[in-house]
Subunit: 200 residues, 2 copies
């Protein structure tokens, strides 16, 4: 029986399957799409991947992604240096910057504490964080780790370390998402929104 | 206000957004994934895209994708040359080959008739198909175009062209998908499955 699978496309499908959320069928659909479009367009995607890996690196201060030694936020004199927002991943900065409200600096931990996965404090950029705080400029640290078990544990751990430094420590509010439906809210979210209820 | 978006990642996200089913958020997730994994792995994906575009071409006989002049199915002497399965796209061959049941040859139309999109018979590989049939070896043509409006119209059009050549023309059965639920079947599918009911 002929196995009808030219090697180059089999290989492309295998590589695409490594992408998050991409299974066999999606990989195949993407591979055929990449064969169907103009060659130049497919090459642009390949070049964009290579170029991103070539040029993007980690900001030496906050560990955000950047093309320069210091990221554009750390090197922006307009930013409020008394406010520091701590996030798990570089992509979280994108989400916060999108709302155009926050004017402070960031610090990326590059993960969250997870005993199950063997990720301890020394695996995260916590030492760097404390060093930045000891410079004395920061007046408030906003813990913006994810509202997950690991994110909450990381926030608790950090707040214990930071509070003795006489710095205000806050955490993003947990509660009902806007546009959501009370009926479908999970119990923990509902509990948090009740605990965090505000005077109107 | 700093716009925090290094150019290389903005560019990568834009290119990823061209992929089918990939919106802004998925593109961003994929881009950050490609930055997080080992550099060699990201480069392998880029190379796989470039290599596929370099090596893959269309089989000169059936228009399937291939790395050689003739695809591995057309050049396989074990294949039954009296059976010809007509499909819309090269990827459809993958789907049929996966069930390891069909032993004949294929012919790819590279699309389906669609007056709305301005795709007429001359835009498909129909002339090539008739030429192959006129060689006299094929005894049955299986029309395996998609069960869509365009696919059905294409099948009807082809059957009218092929029947005068004294060749048996068949069409893949339409009916209830296995594992589906009668209650949720759409009306057209249910109608087709009733029309095509079989003696048990």
């Amino acid at each position: 029986m002929t196995v009808y699978r030219p090697r180059a496309i089999r290989n492309l499908i295998e590589e695409l399957k490594h992408l998050p959320g991409v299974g066999e069928k999606t990989a195949q659909r993407l591979a055929f799409y990449l064969l169907r479009i103009p060659k130049a367009e497919a090459e642009r995607l390949a070049q964009a991947i290579l170029e991103a890996r070539e040029k993007i690196r980690s900001c030496t201060v906050c560990h955000a992604i950047t093309e320069t030694e210091l990221c554009s936020i750390c090197s922006d004199p307009q930013r409020d240096r008394t406010l520091l927002c701590v996030v798990e991943d570089p992509s979280d900065i994108f989400a916060i910057e999108r709302i155009s409200e926050y004017r402070g600096l960031y610090h990326v931990l590059l993960g969250a504490l997870s005993p199950l996965e063997g990720i301890g404090p020394e695996d995260l950029k916590i030492r760097d964080l404390l060093q930045r705080l000891q410079e004395g400029e920061v007046k408030e640290v906003i813990l913006a780790t994810n509202p997950t078990l690991e994110g909450e544990a990381t926030a608790m751990y950090l707040s214990k370390l930071i509070k003795p430094l006489q710095i205000r420590v806050t955490r993003l509010a947990r509660g009902l998402p806007i546009g959501g439906d009370l009926e479908y809210a999970d119990e923990v979210t509902l509990l948090k929104s009740l605990e965090g209820r505000l005077e109107i």
